[in-house]
């Protein structure tokens, strides 16, 4: 991955991860609104789209989401999903019609890949099951597995 791509990916993730529902400002700090993370909202929009009979407009999605999400919020989430290639869109007249291109697990996989690929500074946060192999390591490993009576395929 080149540097520009990495930068672009990171900038996507730097956006605030939390969008507040409905009339969040009305109650202020006294009435804490239920906060939904960006990931949860994306999943809800995607699952609404997956239940659609065909390509639908953003207002269709907005009506089917629980909580009063602003139209612009729904559009923002749809654009994010489009960037991640989890939805496709087609222009009909002056509006876009949206269609789901993957399921919830597929979306999670896309997002997880983004997190993993963004870690180019080799910091350990997640404990990986296995780590990289050098050419010598690979030969040694094949010999060990052969000795264990198991012919590794591939």
């Amino acid at each position: 991955m080149n540097r520009d791509q990495a930068g672009a990916r990171r900038s996507v993730w730097k956006e605030p991860g939390v969008i507040e529902d409905g009339d969040a400002e009305v109650g202020g700090w006294l009435r804490r609104p239920r906060r939904r993370g960006q990931g949860e909202l994306e999943a809800q929009v995607l699952s609404a789209l997956r239940g659609a009979p065909g390509p639908v407009a953003a207002t269709w999605v907005q009506e089917r989401l629980e909580g009063d999400l602003a139209y612009t919020t729904v559009m923002t989430i749809l654009s994010r999903l489009h960037t991640k290639q989890a939805v496709t869109r087609e222009r009909v007249g002056r509006t876009f019609l949206w269609r789901a291109a993957s399921d919830e697990a597929g979306l999670a996989a896309l997002r997880m890949r983004r997190v993993l690929d963004g870690q180019d500074d080799r910091e350990a946060v997640l404990a990986s099951f296995v780590t990289g192999l050098t050419a010598d390591d690979e030969q040694l490993l094949r010999d060990l597995l052969k000795g264990a009576g198991e012919e590794p395929e591939g």
Partner: protein, 324 residues
């Protein structure tokens, strides 16, 4: 106090031989605990020592907010080469603080992003993602946020290359990481390595020992060490093409250039194919292992004592110099 104030800065030199001996001879559980405890104490002492030098160094700067008495000759006499050491320590402490802060920020950010990525999936402890790249991770939970418990993340490509027994071994391995909170040990030595670069050998050693610990726990859970060995070996061979394992592989960096040690994966497989490591706690004193353990304990104790000594001495000098 004298020259002893510098001792905690240099004593972490003992980390390299200790790490090497402990990871080869001790049970991985004891080795992980011993090495991260040694790393943590040595790093704290080294930082305390830096703070003391910074106090003396800052007091010499014109316009500093510290009491005037703290720049008296008696105070400066407490630290050898106070002019150079005091000012160098200011820069060093700032660098340590920035490095540790940056590491913690990145750690929290990646954990939050990874949980965000999994939001919307059913809350099962194992999340299987449809990905063509083979990976498996233990994602520690975030205690402050409900609904973000520790999870295991496995890609379909990884599961596809393993048979049923090996899949159980893989899940048991990741389960062991989560249950024993291995990420805390790894994070502790990573912070320690930033507090004092001489502690860097502990990073790779603790990462390796934590993997071995999880391997041994998985072997107990599955009841067959060879199954775990096969799972680790196959997974490594399948994921070798992808870029992800080296990106996040925390033991991937060479420990010292010139030492042609095999990488962590072949050593793990070889250890699993070998005999069960002795589970005894403290090793006898007159073996290589015992010597290493005792040297570690002694070095840590000396470091702790000399930094405590330096701290008390300096506090006494400063109290005497503070105008009432």
């Amino acid at each position: 106090m004298g020259i002893f104030v510098f001792l905690p800065l240099v004593l972490p030199l003992t980390a390299l031989p200790i790490a090497r001996l402990a990871e080869q001879h001790l049970h991985p559980r004891s080795a992980t605990r011993l090495l991260s405890a040694v790393g943590g104490v040595l790093a704290l002492c080294s930082t305390l020592c830096l703070v003391l030098l910074v106090v003396v160094g800052t007091a010499q700067l014109p316009g500093n907010p510290l009491p005037d008495g703290w720049s008296d000759p008696e105070v400066r006499a407490a630290v050898p080469y106070d002019e150079v050491a005091g000012k160098a320590a200011i820069g060093a402490l700032a660098a340590v603080a920035m490095a540790c802060g940056g590491l913690l920020r990145r750690h929290v950010r990646v954990r939050r992003q990874a949980h965000e990525a999994l939001a919307g999936l059913p809350g099962s402890p194992v999340a299987v993602l449809p990905d063509t790249q083979a990976y498996a991770y233990a994602l520690p939970g975030m205690a402050e946020t409900p609904g973000r418990e520790g999870r295991i993340v496995v890609s379909r490509a990884m599961l596809a290359c393993l048979d049923d027994d090996e899949r159980r071994a893989l899940i048991a391995h990741e389960r062991a990481h989560l249950d024993a909170r291995h990420h805390r040990y790894v994070l502790a030595v990573q912070l320690a390595a930033r507090a004092n670069p001489l502690l860097r050998p502990l990073r790779a050693a603790v990462a390796y020992c934590a993997e071995r610990w999880a391997d041994e726990d998985a072997a107990l859970a599955v009841g067959d060490r060879r199954v775990v060995a096969r799972a680790v070996g196959k997974a490594a061979l399948v994921s070798r093409q992808g870029p992800a394992p080296t990106l996040l592989g925390f033991a991937a960096e060479p420990m010292l250039p010139g030492f042609a040690l095999p990488g962590p994966v072949p050593r793990r497989v070889a250890a699993l194919l070998g005999p069960v490591p002795p589970a005894s706690g403290w090793p006898p004193a007159f073996t290589a292992v015992g010597l290493a353990a005792w040297t570690a304990a002694a070095g840590t104790a000396v470091s702790a004592l000399s930094s405590a000594n330096a701290a008390v001495a300096l506090i006494l000098v400063l109290t005497a110099a503070t105008p009432l």
